[in-house]
Every structure is written in structure tokens, then in C-alpha cells.
Amino acid sequence: MNAPSALPGSVDATLALLTKQGYLAERALATVTFLSLRMGRPLFLEGEAGVGKTEIAKALSAALGRSLIRLQCYEGLDVASAVYEWNSAAQMIAIRLAEATGDTDRERLSHDIFAEQYMIKRPLLRALEPDAAGPPVLLIDELDRADEAFEAYLLEILSDFQVTIPEFGTVRAAQPPIVILTSNRTREIHDALKRRCLYHWVDYPSAERELAIVKSRVPGISAKLSEQVVGFVQALRDQDLFKVPGVAETIDWATALTQLDARTLTPQVVGDTLGALLKYQDDIARMQGDTLQKTIKEAVGDQAS
């Protein structure tokens, strides 16, 4: 890990910081990131799957030399797996030991077994603790998968950066962590939560930016192939598909093509690897035959001959 560095002083500095980590952000995203860092407000990123919402948290933590604490949300996520849990087995042994040594002071016993050493800390609690490298980056990923009850719980943590544990007391962050929340919009997140954050919709990148991303993330890809790959993916995004490919899929596909030593897009090689881009059978079926030929022609177009 790099030495902890200071927060960027301007939008340009933020952009440069992210670029250094190989994250090629749109300027608007750099702007909200900068604001979120300076204002100490959580950053709420929404957008289709695979547009780089999670990546930015990783890039930020690497660029600033902070540790990355990730909370992956899922349906049924509760306080025990998101914040803390007591190590009941260890507590039970402690009680038995106290009994065996004839210690019957209940007050002290209860104080002892609800001490920090019996606490299992989960991501949200860890994010509130002081870190040598400075406040960590807390990534709350795919919040739309958690249920509303958990969302309501987050409201409290995100506004005060503190957690109250009945047996233990209140844990408050000396310096609030850098919080990034992401959502794929499989359901709407409540306005109350959005209001506490800076909101940004992460869109698919432009062809130019996507080309730069492919070149930086897929080493050894030829200039010609990368242009064709991006051209094809961009053309796919204009098609009436159930799920159009994101940047992550573009990188996957480009990697797959270089592994196959493909020099240029041909119907054969595209047909064989389409599964790296499209994840629905209906979409793959729609892209067979003439449509595929036509889209490849569009992508390869002027550079083919």
C-alpha cells in the first residue's frame, strides 16, 4: 500500500489521481467524487451493472493509501453481519471459567464478557475505527439488494457516523470514513437515504473513453482490435437488447479475444465469444445471423479493408 496521501485539492487533481490508478473517470464523476471527499458526504453511485461503480472505491482507496472496507449487501443482511456480533462461544467459556474460579460478582462478569475482546467486528464498525492510514474507504456495494429495514439502519450510521451497542456503548468515528454506496437500481432506494448523499448516475462511457479504458486494462491488445471491440460494443448498446454490455463486459471480451489471438472481428470469432458480452439467451439469439454481420460491419467498417 502507498503512503497515505492528502485529499486532492481540485477536480483536476481528483481526475489525475484516479487516472493514475487506471480509472478513467468522466469529469462529472470526478467532480462529485471531489465534492464528496471535501464535504465529507457519502457518495451514492447508481447505474447499470458493470459501468465501474465499485471500481472507483478501489481506485480511491489505492490512490489515497487508505484501507478499503467492503460491505456486500444481500437480502437478509442484518446488524449481526454488517456491524458487529458477540462471540458467544468465547463468552460462554469465560462465564464457565469465572464460575470455576468461584467468581460470582455478576456485575463484573457482565462487564467482562461484553468487552471488546469478545466482539466480532463487521465492516460498518471497522469503518468507524481509527486507522493509521487515515479514515478508510467504506464501500457499501449493491445497496438495492439489501432490504428496506437495513436501509433505514444505514440512515443513522451515515448521518452521525456512530453505532450504539447496548452492552458496550457508543462507538463514534473520530474522523468519518469516505463512504461510497452503489446501487444497480433493482429497486428504488429511499429518498431519505439519497438526501444524505451526493448522487451521481454513472453512465456507459463514450467510445473514446471506452477505448482508453480497454487499452489501459487489457495489456497487449492491438490498436486495431481494441477499436473494433469498442466499436462493436458501442453498436450493441444501440440495439434493442434486454441487457446491454457494460464496461466490465467489454474488458472481459477484449481479454477473451486476445487470449484467442484474434486479430480482427469475424462473424465466427464474435459468434463464439458473444457469451462474454451478452448474458441473456434471448439477446444472443437476436444477435445471430444477419444482425451480427451487419453490426460487425458497422464496427469494423472503415478500417476493415
Partner: protein, 397 residues
């Protein structure tokens, strides 16, 4: 209003009457509130109409969306006459005469006119008798053949219906004595009271919550006799449950969930009408389903939703796209219930091409043309909703 000997008596009578009117207009006003209102009015100067308004409002209104109804009822009930005349002279009245009445006004008017018909005992008895037989007739009467008054009656009946909470097991836990999981944390805390001996095992059980409901309502011309009542029904559903999404479609799809939520029914329906551009136009079911699947499917169906498709299925452009979209919709939800008012005809047969194409892709095919069928629907919503438990469309029809 009866003449009374003392001013106090008159106030009490008026407040009782006013509370009754509010109740008829749909506000939850209990007898306790009436007592509170009378004692509160004793504390203020009832010569000031604005103070009276504020006082009564603070007692009778408990939800923000009821404010409008209350204000209208207050204006109508405490009309400018006799006693109030000189008091009201000083109060500037809002200039409402030129504006069209807001959507709730009609209901308040009805509520207040009811009060007058209830004056004499004879008419009360007659009313009761009428309403009993009315109930029976209304239960089975087709929505399309109802008079305005009957529709109003049915709307009220729909609003009164108790929606069951079709339960979904979640992966979250709550303290529950009969639960399957041991709650070690509470057990340990409990054990400390006895110096470390575990006397009682605390348990956790899974939390149940209602399944999300997604309604797709056809508002094309052929459905126009029904749309208002269905909207009323969907409003009642939206009000009673947390996760409900409502979409209207004719030639295009409109999401009206926000318009329906947390508002007075009349106001909500007016907001829906305003939001939709193609009211009572043609039907393009395939196109509408396509945009639903593409734009909303992943967002509103992801948590095991039950889909109510309310349509007569009379589609002009019938092709394989309809099959495709119905199939996709069917595969992405927990249960797809098709509600079709055409099923009111006894010898109904699925002859229309569109209906034929759509039928294989629904879990349930139900009639919705009268109160009784809506009640049937409500009980169906509380039935087990396990995926894989399929209903045969033929037997349901």
C-alpha cells in the same frame, strides 16, 4: 342545525355533526376526538374562525393527505350564515369561486348531503333497508352497468376491504419463542442475571413480510368502464401495503406509483389522469409489456413480486412479440395473475387471438367485473405464493 338554548349545547351538536360528516368523507374520526374538540374549543375564542379551524384541524386531522378534505368540509359545514356572519366578515376568504372544485370536493358534498337525509327517523330506516338489498345487488352487478351513485358505493366498499398480507419468508430474524434459531446473544445476557446459568433459551424466527405487488392496468377505450374502479382498488392496495407498483398502459406505459401513494383517493386518481397521455386510446399490449420488461422488470420484480395484469386482452396487433413479452414477464415474477373483465360472460371462450396467445403464460385467470370478484381476488392474494404452484388457466376460467 337544531336551535338550542345555550351556546355550549349548540357547539357540541355542531361538532358531533361535523365529526360525522368528516367520517363520512373518509377521515378516521373517533368519538374521543369529538370530546377533545369540544373541550379544546372551550379554551379558545370561538369568534375567530381561523382559530376554530386550526383547533379542529389539530384534533381531527392525523395525516397530511387529509388536510384538503378537512379544509373543504370545514368551509362547507360552517357556512357563512346567521351566527357566523359577523364573525366571518373580518376573515378574508380565499377566492375559490373561479377555480374548478378540487377532486375531493364532490365527496365532501356527498358526505354533507347525506347528513340532511338522515334527519328523520323514517328515512333512516328506509335507508338501512335499501342499503341491505343494495349490498346484495351491488355484489354481483357488473361495474360497467352501474350508475354514478352505485359506483360511489362500490368505491367505498373497496376502500373498506381488508387486504390480507400475502406472506413471504425473509432471511431476517426477530425474537420469536417458537423460532428455529437460537438467540445466543439474548440467552447469554439472560444468563448473567442468574450468575452464568442458562435458565431460558431465547429463540429467533424468520420475519414474514407481504410480497410486492405490481399491477399493470389497461386503460384503453374498451376498458374505460372499469378503469376508474380498478384505480380505486389499486389505490386501496397501495395505501395498505408498502411495496406496490402500479403501471397504466394503453398505447404506452406510465408509472403512476408515486401519484397513487399516500394521497386521498380522489386526488390520487386525478394525479393519475394528469400523468397519462393516452387515456382511453387504443391498446398495444405487446409494446407496453416490452417497455415494462425492459425498463422496469428488473427493478420492480426482483423481490418475488406478484403481478396483476388487468386487461381484456383485446389487442389489435397480434404477433409473436406478444407471446415473447408475456413469456418474459411470466418468467420474471413469482405469480402472474391475469384479471379480465370479459370473464363476466358465462360462456366466455378465449377466441380472440391476443387472449389465446397470452393465456399459456399466466398462472391464474380471473374475472374482475363486480365486487364479488374483487373480494375473490383479495383472498387469492393471500393464498400461498410459492413459485411452482401453478394454477391451470382453464380450470380457473
Amino acid at each position: 342545525m337544531p336551535d338550542s338554548t345555550t351556546a355550549k349545547g349548540q357547539i357540541a351538536d355542531n361538532i358531533v355533526g361535523f365529526a360525522r360528516a368528516l367520517r363520512a368523507a373518509g377521515l378516521p374520526v373517533g368519538p374521543g376526538a369529538v370530546i377533545d374538540a369540544v373541550s379544546a374549543l372551550r379554551l379558545i375564542d370561538i369568534g375567530n374562525r381561523r382559530d376554530v379551524f386550526a383547533t379542529l384541524q389539530s384534533v381531527f386531522v392525523t395525516r397530511h393527505e387529509h388536510m384538503l378534505i378537512f379544509a373543504q368540509a370545514f368551509d362547507l359545514f360552517f357556512r357563512i350564515d346567521d351566527d357566523w356572519q359577523h364573525m366571518l366578515d373580518s376573515v378574508p376568504l380565499p377566492d375559490q369561486a373561479r377555480k374548478p372544485p378540487p377532486p375531493a370536493a364532490r365527496r365532501v358534498q356527498e358526505a354533507l348531503s347525506q347528513r340532511e337525509t338522515m334527519q328523520s327517523k323514517d328515512s333512516v330506516e328506509q335507508d338501512v333497508q335499501l342499503s341491505v338489498s343494495d349490498q346484495e345487488v351491488l355484489q354481483k352487478k357488473d361495474f360497467a352497468q352501474m350508475s354514478a351513485a352505485e359506483i360511489a358505493e362500490v368505491s367505498r366498499a373497496i376502500a373498506r376491504m381488508q387486504l390480507p398480507q400475502a406472506e413471504l419468508r425473509t432471511r431476517r430474524f426477530l425474537p420469536d419463542a417458537k423460532g428455529q434459531r437460537l438467540d445466543l446473544r439474548r440467552t447469554l445476557r439472560g444468563s448473567l442475571r442468574t450468575g452464568g446459568d442458562i435458565v431460558k433459551l431465547h429463540r429467533l424466527g424468520r420475519i414474514d413480510k407481504p410480497a410486492p405487488i405490481v399491477a399493470l392496468l389497461d386503460i384503453s377505450g374498451s376498458m374505460s368502464d372499469y378503469t376508474r374502479l380498478f384505480l380505486q382498488f389499486l389505490h386501496a392496495v397501495t395505501d395498505a401495503r408498502k411495496r406496490v407498483s402500479v403501471f397504466l398502459f394503453g398505447t404506452r406505459l406510465t408509472n403512476v406509483t408515486r401519484s397513487l401513494r399516500a394521497r386521498d383517493p380522489d386526488e390520487a386518481l386525478a394525479a393519475c389522469t394528469a400523468a397519462v397521455e393516452d387515456w382511453s386510446g387504443g391498446t398495444r399490449i405487446a409494446t407496453s409489456l416490452h417497455s415494462f420488461n425492459k425498463l422496469w422488470g428488473r427493478r420492480v420484480l426482483s423481490q418475488g413480486a406478484i403481478v396483476l395484469l388487468i386487461s381484456d386482452g383485446l389487442e389489435r396487433e397480434v404477433d409473436e412479440r406478444l407471446t415473447f413479452e408475456m413469456d418474459r414477464l411470466h418468467r420474471s415474477c413469482r405469480r402472474l395473475i391475469w384479471l379480465n373483465p370479459l370473464l363476466r360472460y358465462e360462456g366466455f371462450q378465449a377466441k380472440a387471438q391476443g387472449i389465446k396467445l397470452m393465456l399459456p403464460h399466466v398462472d391464474e385467470f380471473r374475472p374482475v367485473h363486480n365486487l364479488k370478484s374483487i373480494e375473490g381476488l383479495i383472498s387469492a392474494l393471500s393464498a400461498p405464493t410459492e413459485k411452482g404452484h401453478r394454477f391451470s388457466p382453464k380450470s380457473a376460467a
